[in-house]
Symmetry: C2
Subunit: 126 residues, 2 copies
DNA sequence: TGTCATATATGTAATTATCATATAGCATAA
DNA sequence: TTATGCTATATGATAATTACATATATGACA
């Protein structure tokens, strides 16, 4: 027996945290050096959203090959060793560009939300 | 000979229009009935971004199977016939939910941009 | 008849996101 | 001493989205 999946009922998130994870990480790292698991906790605290831990680690390694961050192992007596990440000059440059792109996205969402308010909250005047 | 692709140089758009296309379409359709190509032009005019025409048509058909819009062919003396789309009750309900999700995304981006401003524009006070 | 603008649509590759699993160190409880 | 739980890093596989390319059709106009 096959069940037909109803796409219209699927919950839709229009701005998943994963999409913004790179600038989020770089912003956190420009304040403090940190490691994967620590960033996970900070991201969830600041963003109020669950972050996929697998992708977070993969993203960090990719960001390192991109030269945006560099990492170094740090001993941890209380548990497994930590790979600590530091933002680089290149990372700062990228963050700057990301902020420009995010500002545009912000404008787009604003226009959409304002259009919605105009149409449905205040009637269709103007 | 193989060339290594430098991922760090790839332009990154953090909020592609495609991601927000469904609510954008529904908002436009809640003002006027329209067709694919017309929506394409309106979307580009309002969003200042190129929209992938192939995906737009596919999205519209999917939105129809989801019951958010319905379509009807309209004769067009000046060219090919047009498939005109109208928003449905279900589409309005979805748009409402989308706006909630988009408001959350908006907040997330704001927190990020504000954090950036605080860290880099006004120094690290507070 | 050739090109351009409008108009709808499908094929497929590349990228991104989700879900699952593996491994390891230490603490603490059973 | 084994099991469970939390921290910590990492990979495998699949699902979903996005980007790029191509096909087709109608009418206008040169």
């Amino acid at each position: 027996m096959t069940t037909t999946y109803n796409d219209s009922l699927r919950p839709r998130v229009f701005g998943v945290i994963q999409r913004f994870i790179e600038p989020c990480i770089l912003l956190l790292l420009s304040k403090n050096t940190s490691h994967g698991y620590g960033l996970l906790e900070d991201l969830e605290k600041h963003c109020g959203e669950k972050v996929d831990i697998g992708n977070l680690y993969r993203t960090l390694r990719k960001m390192e090959t991109n030269g945006w961050v560099k990492s170094e192992w740090y001993g941890n007596k209380a548990g497994r060793d930590r790979r600590m990440y530091t933002i680089t000059k290149k990372g700062h440059t990228f963050l700057e560009k990301a902020v420009t792109s995010l500002t545009q996205t912000d404008n787009l969402i604003h226009r959409l939300l304002e259009g919605y308010q105009r149409t449905f909250q205040k009637g269709v005047s103007l």
